[in-house]
Every structure is written in structure tokens, then in C-alpha cells.
Amino acid sequence: MTDPRTLSPLDLDTPDKTYLDANELVINMGPQHPATHGVLRVILRLDGEKVLGLECVIGYLHRGVEKIAENRTYTMFNPYVDRMDYVAAVSNGLGYCEAVEKLLSVEAPPRAQYIRVILTELNRIASHQLWLGTHALDIGAITPLFYTFRDREEILKIFEKYCGARLTTHAFRIGGLQYEAYDGFEKDVRNFVKFVRPKIDEYEELLTTNRIWLERTKGVGVISGKDCIALGVTGPVLRASGVKWDLRKAQPYANYKNFDFEIPVGLNGDTYDRYIVRMQEFRQSLRIIEQAVEGIPEGPIMAKVPKVMKPPVGEIYHSIEAPKGELGYFIVSDGSTQPYRVRVRPPSFVNLQALDLMCRNQLVADVIAVIGTLDIVLGEVDR
């Protein structure tokens, strides 16, 4: 495998020959394209259908989230993080709240921790469901999309009942939770687990042994574990390449060390392995939810946190395992009510860098499959 650092940058301005008599073609995919998951622009250099190289152009959805943080108090910035990875808003909130809690040296009470874990894992399932639907749609199977959206609805209903919002939930507060779990929360979650287990088998039935699916995903977009580490790729993409690295186990945050679950790992680092790893993660998340919902303790849901937060001068880096990979927050405090600097390490942005490496010498159709399997959200890439 090539060392990604030695890859030559693309010379996109001067294709070797002219349009008609040459076999090299530079085409522009996106920002308005059905399969780039938002406003990603990919400039492809093709030889017939073979990809010679590609370049990602990002920034179409840049909203300056990190800059906004510098003009908001710690509490005021909390809802903004939901808008980065908007399909896994709860995970983003968890990472930010825990980072600030670390800065303030407070810890959320156990009951809050349990509810946080349940909601975050539910969100991981929702995020993976959205990934599965769109990924399959990109490869041409249009039906799984509707199945996954039907079942994702049940998760959103739980979110809506819990905090009133479905997508950008703002579910957590610094120091714990704002809302106590509603009556019947545990029953809803248990019912959901029972409801969704067979549904996951149903998705697998449609795809896992489907001949065309196998041909389209096996050996496509292969990336080795070494390359993943060199590029900083994390999450299911890294695990599918055989590296057993999950922050929930490696650096347990929240109260993940209380739960018994496994880290699914792939072997080949191709699109199919990433698919299998994510399908296994569905089941592992359900396992965690089941354990958490049985063990929710009684007690307060909010730690003692000052109304006006003035963290001591210092800096903190805290990262969690978001559905898409390592989501890190680097916060510098100057002792005032507003952070001096917030830097987000978004998994999608870092994972997207592997696109060029994974797509070289593959076909155009594989670029679509690889974009899908990287599971990027442009809100998070551009911030």
C-alpha cells in the first residue's frame, strides 16, 4: 500500500490531452449531486471510467461554528454543536458537555450518565441507519432507505418525547441533564430495542448476501490499518481495517466502562467490511442500551454547576467515539465566561481525506460507494 504522504497532488488544471482525442477527462461531481451527501464537490480525473485521482473541495456549508464559540458563553454555545453532525446531534452534545465538565472539574451524576449513554447509543443507531439507507441508495438499492427511515422514526420519537426536538436535540447540559426522563422512557426504550432487533436482520437480509451488493462492495475502497492511522482515520472505517480502536473502550468516557460490549473489527478494510462492522455496531449499541436501561439509578440529574461558568485558565482536549469516529473538542479557556478558542476535531473531515487514496484506480461507480461508506456529513466537514 502506498504511503499516503507520498501521493502526488493532482494537476487538475492541465489534463494531459485535449477533450476529444484524449482518454483523460476531468469532471466535476457536486456540489449539487445526488450522491455527495450534501454539498461536497469532488473533482475527478478519469481515464475512461477509471479514476486517476480526485480532489475534494469543501467549505460550501461553512458556518464558522468555531468562531461563533468565541463570542458565546459556554452554555450558549451548547446548541451550536448539534448543527455540526446533525444526524448525530446527541453525540456532539455529549462530547462538548463532557469537555466543558472536564474543564470545570465537575462530573455528571450517575443517573444523568446512564440517560446520556442511552440517548447517545440510540443516536448512534439512528446515524448508522441513515448511513445504511443512503449508502445502499448510492449503490442502487433504493428500498433499504425507506426501511431504515421508518425505524429511525421510532428513535426520533423517543428524542422528541424526551426533549421536544427530533434532530438537533440539545439533549444534554453542562453538568448533567436539564430534563428528567419522562414517564415511560424506560418502557419506550425497551420496546424500541425489541422492535428494532428483527428490523436489523431485515436490512441484512436485503443486502448482506445479495450477489450484486457483494460484488459492488467487496474489494472496493480498500484501505489498510496503517494508512488509516497515518491519515488519522477513525471510527468504523479504522475498525474495518483491522485496528481495534474504540474510544469507548480505549479511553472510557461517560460510564462506558460499566457496560459489557464488544468492538466489531473487520479484516480487509474494504467497503463490505465497513458495512459488516457497522451492522455489528447496531447490535452492540442495542446491548449497551439494554444494560443501561436496566441499570438506571435513582438520584439527581444535575451536578453542582455555577450559573455563570468561568472555567479556570487552561486548555482541555476531550474526545468521544461518535458514530463516525473520534469526535474531539479542544477548548482553551482564558478564565472568562466565553471560551478563548474552540477547535473541533470532526471525524468526517479527517476521514474524508482518505477518499483520494481509496478511490485511485477504481471506477467512477466506486467513488460513490466510497463516499457512502466513509459516512460523511458535510455539516461536520465544513463546520
Binding site: I27, E49, G140, Y147, L206, I212, E215, A365
Partner: protein
């Protein structure tokens, strides 16, 4: 005037198709009938595809325009016709303008030889099946010119994919067709339950069906499993030939936005749409004619006899009655609200029309005339359902895999099949030859 009436009536009682009989009046009438029928079929297909696909995907599909979205295709057609006719500035104006017409022309012309019944075809050519294959493959010309004339990258790639795909699948398709044509002339042995027929084979669509009638078997069951394999090859190739899922690479939405018709809009786009659906119906009619006994009712050999004839003659009427009953069941389920009154009435009217057609079709004199067309359409409709089912089930093949399936799987299978079919059909002669060689 008198001459004209004489000319018109002279066709009555003829057992030839109007084209073959040389009667231009009835040929024109048949052309209009086929054209109107095809347009209605495409409209119905549009609605059915959206509804069936929707129900496979746990959603409702069109529900707003008319009861259960029945008027949606009409609304869409009006919208497409009223749209601005855009020809991109960079496009080759003339070629861009002509391309959709080539495609539509090719798609519609093939229906000249489609046999809806022993005499219900526009004409009967002695090279019917060749004509169909030849003309339907002309549509690739329109697709390539459309992609090239758009002067844009995505349409160009779509057009190139499409031409490569259609050309390579035509080979496998041709081999399967040849094996079916062989069957029209070959004798079978009693072991296969096949009676001997005339010695000469035929390419005429009507004669192919007649051969199946005389041999008392549909070719899908002949020389089991050879006929079945040939049919399977054709059924796969025809999906690729019409650029439908899972072989819909030329218009792969997630890769090439819309493939060769990316730059087309409004009326011109609707022509491509029309052509795609009529091409689907055309290749399905080839499959039905060659392997599924064309207009013959199911199992004419196993379930033969006067009683079964009468029972099967009820089918057309009963089908429409059942459709009417389903419609009335849905009328009963409509919301009881003044806002829905007109919709409910419309749906009830639709059901009443269906029921009325059903009752009319139960009259023996009429039913005996529509039998053939009904069975032919029913078989084609089954294929249309298959098309929709594929689309709801399969992911899309990649280009190289598609080529691999075409050249490395279907083509060799087709070749071996052809030899086997010929061998099995000629085994009497081969046996004779062997005996003569060994005994001399």
C-alpha cells in the same frame, strides 16, 4: 364511396393480418389502435410502477391528484408538455433535437410485428423477429447521439455506457432468440412429450406462436431445461437492453445524475421516458411470443378440452370484475368527509367502468374476440411487474461487472445452449448417422 366500403369490408373473414393482406385501411386502424393502446399502457405503467414500488417501500406513492393518485400521470404529462423547451447553448442543436425522435421511433416501430392474436397484428413479416431485434437496437443510436449532442460530461459517459451495454447484451439476447427459433423447426421425441411439427422453422412472430400451438408446448418448457435457460438468458439480457435496474447504469442516478438525458427537459425528456417504457413492453412481448406462447391461454395441452376452454374464457371478464371489486373496496375505505366526496365519486366511477368492462367481456361473443389480446397483455403485464420488482430489490451493477456478466456468463451459456438445443432436436438424425457409421 362504394369502392371504399368494398375495400374496407373485403378484409372481413380474412385469416391474415391487415398488413399481410395488403389492406391499408385496416392497417391504419390497427396502427392507431396499437399507438393508443401503447400510450395508455405507458400511462398506466407509470402509475402502477410508482404505486407498486411505493408499497414495496412502506410508503403510499402518489395520493393527491385524483383518488389514490390515479390522475397523477396525466398531471405529469400536462406539466411536461407545458414546460419550456430548453436546448443548451453549447449543444449541437440539430442532433440534440433529433435524438429523442430516433429513440421513440425505434421503440414504437417494433410494434408493427407484435402479434396480439392470430390476426391481431399490424402485419406479419417472414423476418418478424429479426425486424424486431434490428429496429429495437436502433434506439442505441438515439441514445448515443443524445449523449454526444448534449456536449456535457455526464451525458457523454452515460451514452457511452449505454451503447457498450446494449451492444454486448444484444449478442447474448440474439443467441437465446436463435435457440428459440431452432425450436420452431425441430422435432422432439415422445420422451419430452413433444409432437413432431413441420420441418421448416420460421422467423415470423405469428408462425412462432403457431408452432408452439402445434407442438403443444410453450418453448420455455421444451427440451427442459434448455428452453428455460434460453428464456432466463433472454430475461436477463432484456433488462440490460432496456437500461432498467439492476442494469440501469446509463442513467444511474447516484453516479451520473440522469445519464444520457441529463440535459433534456420537458417534452423531449418525456419522449425518452415514453421510449423507455415502450421498449420494456416491446422486449417483454418478444419474450412472451418466443417462450410463453404469445396469445395462447395457459396450459392448452394439459388443461385441454371444451370445459377448460369455457373456464378460461371467463378470465378476461373476471379480471376486470376483480379490479372493479378492489376499486370498490377502496371506495369503501375512503374518508367520510365532504372534502373527499368528489374523489370518492370519481373512484366509484372508475370502479363502475372497470366492472362494466368486466361484464361486457363475460359475453361469450365478445370474450372470444378479446381472449387472445387479453392473454398476451396479461403475460406482458407479468413481465412489467417483474421489472418493478427488480427495481425495488436489487442494487446496481458496476460497469465492469455488467460487462463480465454479459460476455463471460451469458454469452458462453448461450453458445453452449444453442449447440445443445440443436443437438437435442436433431438427436434422431444424429443417432441414425452414428448407427450408419458404426454398422458400415
Amino acid at each position: 364511396m362504394h369502392d371504399l366500403i368494398n375495400y374496407i369490408t373485403s378484409y372481413f373473414g380474412s385469416n391474415l393480418t391487415p398488413g399481410a393482406a395488403g389492406n391499408f385501411f385496416w392497417a391504419t386502424v390497427y396502427i392507431l389502435l396499437v399507438f393508443v393502446g401503447l400510450s395508455i399502457a405507458v400511462i398506466a405503467m407509470n402509475w402502477l410502477e410508482r404505486k407498486i414500488l411505493a408499497h414495496m417501500q412502506v410508503r403510499l406513492g402518489p395520493m393527491r391528484v385524483g383518488p389514490h393518485g390515479l390522475l397523477q400521470p396525466i398531471a405529469d404529462a400536462i406539466k411536461l408538455l407545458l414546460k419550456e423547451d430548453i436546448i443548451p447553448a453549447e449543444a449541437d442543436q440539430l442532433v440534440f433535437w433529433i435524438a429523442p425522435f430516433i429513440v421513440v421511433l425505434a421503440a414504437f416501430t417494433v410494434f408493427v410485428v407484435v402479434p396480439f392474436g392470430p390476426t391481431s397484428a399490424i402485419t406479419d413479416m417472414n423476418i418478424g423477429i429479426l425486424f424486431m431485434l434490428g429496429v429495437s437496437s436502433l434506439s442505441v443510436l438515439g441514445i448515443v447521439t443524445a449523449g454526444w449532442a448534449s456536449n456535457s460530461h455526464y451525458p457523454l459517459i452515460g451514452a457511452l455506457r449505454s451503447s457498450a451495454q446494449m451492444v454486448s447484451y444484444e449478442v447474448a439476447m440474439g443467441l437465446a432468440v436463435v435457440s428459440a427459433i431452432l425450436m420452431t423447426s425441430l422435432h422432439g421425441l415422445g420422451f419430452y412429450g413433444v409432437a413432431a411439427s413441420g420441418d421448416t422453422g420460421t422467423l415470423s412472430m405469428i408462425e412462432i406462436v403457431n408452432a408452439q400451438m402445434e407442438q403443444q408446448t410453450w418453448f420455455i418448457f421444451k427440451f427442459f431445461p434448455l428452453g428455460l435457460i434460453a428464456f432466463t438468458i433472454f430475461a436477463i439480457a432484456m433488462v440490460a437492453e432496456t437500461n432498467r435496474a439492476p442494469f440501469d447504469l446509463p442513467e444511474a442516478e447516484s453516479e451520473l445524475t440522469a445519464g444520457f438525458h441529463t440535459e433534456y427537459s420537458g417534452f423531449r425528456w418525456s419522449l425518452f421516458f415514453l421510449a423507455e417504457y415502450s421498449a420494456m413492453i416491446a422486449v417483454s412481448s418478444i419474450a412472451v411470443t418466443l417462450w410463453l406462447g404469445g396469445w395462447l391461454r395457459p396450459f392448452p395441452n394439459a388443461l385441454a378440452g371444451r370445459t377448460w376452454d369455457v373456464i378460461f374464457s371467463f378470465f378476461p371478464g373476471l379480471t376486470f370484475l376483480a379490479l372493479g371489486a378492489i376499486t370498490f373496496y377502496n371506495v369503501a375505505r375512503m374518508p367520510r368527509h365532504p372534502l373527499f366526496r368528489i374523489q370518492t365519486m370519481g373512484l366509484a366511477g372508475f370502479g363502475a367502468v372497470l366492472g362494466l368492462i368486466g361484464v361486457v367481456l363475460l359475453i361469450p361473443e365478445i370474450s372470444s374476440h378479446v381472449q387472445n389480446v387479453f392473454w398476451f397483455s396479461a403475460k406482458v403485464a407479468a413481465f412489467m411487474y417483474l421489472y418493478i420488482w427488480y427495481r425495488g430489490t436489487f442494487p446496481r451493477y458496476r460497469f465492469d461487472q455488467l460487462m463480465k456478466v454479459g460476455w463471460k456468463v451469458l454469452l458462453p451459456t448461450g453458445l453452449v445452449l444453442l449447440i445443445l438445443t440443436a443437438g437435442v432436436g436433431m438427436r434422431d438424425e444424429i443417432w441414425d448417422l452414428l448407427q450408419r457409421v458404426t454398422h458400415s
